[in-house]
């Protein structure tokens, strides 16, 4: 059946749309459910586990793979069978960009067939992939910055959704605020708006996951094939072509999203999606000169030592690179984190924030705890549960150890008092909110009773808070609740965190009380 000519429905395309709607809904639901109470045990990160780019980067960068990422073999298998069907049928970002392209179709000048011509700069994504994989081989997991699932998740979670809250309100919840939400949101809007000029520009020109699948798709068993005997050269097959793979000429299988629009559009019924069809264009239709690929890989290789030669790197993490409990040591964390922001999205207090400068260039969009925004809830384990790659390991309450006897669990940092800003220390004014909210048992904040003298000469009995470093876990409750609400009088830095052996400033064995 060819709906273009005969008014019927081309069923495979309808099924594709159902798939797209389903996976987009699944993805959005996962993002929403991560934050909800009571349904924490759903596999909300499952879609991320399907991502072969995450798996490849994790393997290259850390020489290991977390079990859940083995699901990505299913997408590799799908691609071997049917080309980049992931791009056309599953990828939620692809679906959104397809919708955006469709919505802006009347703004593009000229015939639609011309919009969907291949352009040389669409080969950029392969070079980006080469650079990102080369960086991964040196241990930098920055590919997540361009991974479509990560890009979409963090754009929605810590860019657009907080902006939406600002616009329409939250129905009484505290609106969530994120580091660089404007930038995160603007980048996404830019990718969205780009479709007004070039259909699915991200997918065609930039997406490194698409590039990886395109390389596999060169060998795909089933692919689009025009029967030259029946083709009338009307070029209508390109009218709604998503991948700019030019089925009317020498079909570029590496670029094809298997959306099947061309089959629906062909008035001659000349196009089919066929097993063991011969290759039209050599190398899947994208020529990648070895010089360019090596140049791109060299650029990726050059980046990493430059990152590492800087402060705020794995060798010298910044004081504010406070990582969620269960995070791997910094080098492994930077290698395996895919910058998807699932943990940031899930964090119930908004304590986890996407880093812009806090964790260096290599740590862009990795999660850091900002205690001014929130604190690490002692019994909460969400970030480790939603992390798709094991960069944050799923913990048990006992492993985290913040609700049991203090001094034995995970520590993510240490609190320090700023005596000039602290009311009892700097102004002889009673306060001790920090000590009240300190959640460890016994409390890491203790009180020194002093008889001070007020400005009028009268004696003042004060309790001055002090930190017991062997007990402080770095949760940030004291900083979050300090009444000095701009720069708190007690603040957390990452020193003393238990995941890094070199970050202890106290002599003696871990957990040992002085």
């Amino acid at each position: 059946m060819r709906e273009a000519e005969r008014g019927g429905i081309y069923w495979p395309r309808a099924v594709r749309r159902i798939y797209q709607a389903f996976f987009l809904a699944l993805f959005l639901a996962a993002l929403l459910l991560m934050t909800a109470e009571g349904i924490r045990r759903l596999p909300v990160a499952w879609l991320f586990h399907l991502d072969p780019l995450s798996a490849a980067v994790s393997l290259l960068a850390s020489w290991s793979l977390t079990a859940a990422l083995a699901w990505s073999l299913a997408i590799v298998a799908l691609t071997v069978l049917a080309g980049r069907a992931f791009c056309g049928w599953i990828c939620p970002l692809g679906t959104i960009l397809q919708l955006a392209s469709w919505a802006t179709r009347r703004l593009r000048r000229g015939p639609a067939t011309e919009h969907n011509r291949w352009r040389p700069h669409f080969a950029l994504k392969y070079l980006l992939l080469a650079a990102l994989l080369a960086a991964a081989a040196l241990g930098a997991g920055i590919a997540g910055l361009f991974d479509p699932l990560s890009f979409l998740a963090r754009s929605l979670g810590s860019g657009l959704s907080p902006a939406l809250h600002q616009l329409v309100g939250t129905g009484g919840w505290r609106p969530r605020i994120f580091i660089g939400a404007w930038l995160t949101g603007l980048l996404f809007l830019a990718v969205l708006v780009a479709n007004r000029w070039i259909v699915r520009w991200w997918c065609r020109a930039l997406c490194p996951l698409g590039a990886l699948l395109g390389l596999i798709a060169r060998a795909s068993i089933a692919r689009i094939r025009i029967d030259p005997a029946r083709c009338a050269h009307c070029n209508r097959c390109a009218t709604d072509c998503q991948g700019a793979d030019e089925p009317f000429a020498r079909h570029r299988v590496a670029e094809c999203h298997a959306c099947l629009n061309c089959i629906a559009a062909c008035p001659e019924g000349a196009i089919g999606f066929r097993a063991f069809a011969p290759e039209d264009a050599p190398h899947g239709g994208v020529s990648l000169p070895r010089r360019r690929v090596l140049g791109a890989a060299a650029a990726g290789v050059a980046l990493v030592p430059l990152f590492r030669a800087s402060t705020l790197s794995a060798a010298q993490p910044g004081p504010l690179a406070i990582r969620p409990p269960g995070a791997q040591p910094e080098a492994g964390f930077l290698a395996t984190c895919v910058r998807c922001g699932a943990c940031v999205n899930a964090c119930p207090t908004s304590a986890l924030q996407p880093a812009l400068g806090e964790a260096g260039v290599e740590g862009l969009y990795t999660p850091v705890l900002v205690a001014r925004q929130g604190w690490c809830e002692p019994s909460c384990l969400l970030c480790g549960q939603v992390c798709p790659t094991g960069a944050i390991r799923p913990l048990t309450i006992a492993e985290k150890g913040w609700t049991l006897e203090a001094g034995q669990g995970i520590r993510i940092g240490t609190a320090f008092f700023d005596h000039g800003r602290c009311l009892p220390w700097g102004m002889n004014v009673p306060c001790i909110v920090c000590q009240e909210v300190c959640p460890t048992s016994p409390k890491a904040i203790w009180l020194e009773e002093v008889d001070a003298v007020g400005r009028d000469g009268r004696p003042v009995r004060l309790q001055r808070p002090r930190i017991e470093p062997g007990l402080c876990v770095g949760c940030g409750l004291c900083e979050a609740k300090c009444p000095i609400t701009d720069i708190a009088a007690v603040r957390i830095t990452r020193i003393g965190e238990s995941r890094e052996t070199g970050s202890s400033f106290r002599l003696g064995n871990r957990g040992q009380l002085p």
């Binding site: 393997l59 850390s62 290991s64 083995a70 990505s72 068993i221 066929r274 069809a277 106290r506 064995n509």
Partner: protein, 326 residues
């Protein structure tokens, strides 16, 4: 679906072969990754610290003082009174000679071990047939500058030693098994040498009051060793229990009496003209304490080290003196 035109057997085989290769390759990589513990998984764990001290020989003195001569003959006389260098170093040994070489100060300031003491120890080791003699320390000031200004680099090289600076020699995680020091980064030669000769200088120290032999082990540590100051006495006792020297040769040719451990004023440096050597590090430190007018039992780490069986404080008051000229 009818057989599409243009399909041939060769194409089908190629496609199936490619599919198998891709899936097999991806699967194999995934399997490898799933089994691997990863790039940052620890290796064999912290290294053990070998014992390099000799069994106690009741026929020999545990320590002696040498007096009355130039520096080199005093070193030779003291070691000779212990039974000669052949008792400590043999053919094929790799010897770490560990001076105090921590400060950018010339020899007369008494902040570092005197180069002549170091050089003579090196010469003795060479004479005993050591395969390699390494002179090294983890300096506080810039290590290359210290090695040069202290005079030790030139003297040690002339005597036939190789110099080990921390950046070149590197560190290994080692199990100290102490009360406060469990594992720490340790200067690699201090773990790999087959013989360990401690060559400290006696000095005043602001925190511990005395620095001589036991405190000199601070200089084999890397990492954030400034943490030791939070419990310096226990830390030094931990170090002394972990690093048992084959031989200790104490430089008391001149002694910094104030402003330690850095010093900087010649008025604070007292000429003493003595060298001591022995196999009991605690006795030698106790003797050094007396040189500074300190009661050895008042030095916290000496009591702790004695309690760990490192040596005897009382023995420090009963050292015999040999004349270098004799």
């Amino acid at each position: 679906m009818s057989a599409p035109p243009g399909v041939d057997r060769r194409l089908v085989l190629r496609r199936l072969g490619q599919a198998g290769l891709i899936l097999g390759g991806a699967g194999a990589l995934a399997a490898l990754g799933l089994r691997s513990r990863g790039r940052w998984a620890g290796g064999a764990g912290p290294a053990a610290i070998p014992r390099r001290d000799l069994a106690v020989d009741p026929a020999r003195p545990a320590a002696v003082i040498a007096a009355g001569g130039a520096i080199a003959p005093m070193v030779r006389a003291a070691v000779g009174a212990l039974g000669g260098i052949g008792r400590f170093v043999g053919a094929g040994d790799v010897v770490l000679v560990k001076p105090n070489m921590a400060w950018d100060r010339p020899p007369e300031m008494g902040a570092n071990t005197h180069p002549a003491v170091v050089a003579e120890v090196v010469r003795l080791c060479r004479e005993a047939g050591a395969a390699r003699v390494i002179v090294g320390d983890v300096a506080v000031h810039d290590a290359a500058r210290v090695a040069s200004r202290s005079g030790i680099a030139a003297a040690a090289r002339d005597a036939g030693a190789e110099l080990a600076l921390p950046d070149d020699a590197g560190f290994l995680e080692a199990a100290l098994g102490g009360a406060v020091l469990s594992t720490w980064e340790v200067f690699r030669p201090a773990l790999t040498a087959t013989k360990l000769i401690n060559v400290p200088v006696v000095k005043d120290h602001a925190l511990t009051r005395l620095t001589a032999g036991l405190k000199n082990w601070y200089g084999v540590l890397g990492g954030t060793r400034a943490r030791l100051h939070q419990d310096i006495d226990t830390s030094i006792a931990d170090l002394a229990a972990a690093f048992r020297p084959t031989l200790t040769v104490v430089d008391a040719t001149r002694v910094m009496t104030r402003g330690g451990p850095t010093g900087g004023r010649l008025e604070d440096v007292r000429p003493v003209g003595l060298v001591a050597a022995g196999t009991d590090p605690v006795a030698l430190d106790a003797w050094g304490a007396r040189l500074l007018g300190l009661e050895p039992r008042a030095i916290g780490y000496l009591g702790l080290a004695e309690g760990r069986g490192v040596g005897s404080i009382a023995a420090g008051d009963a050292l015999e003196t040999v004349r270098a000229g004799a």
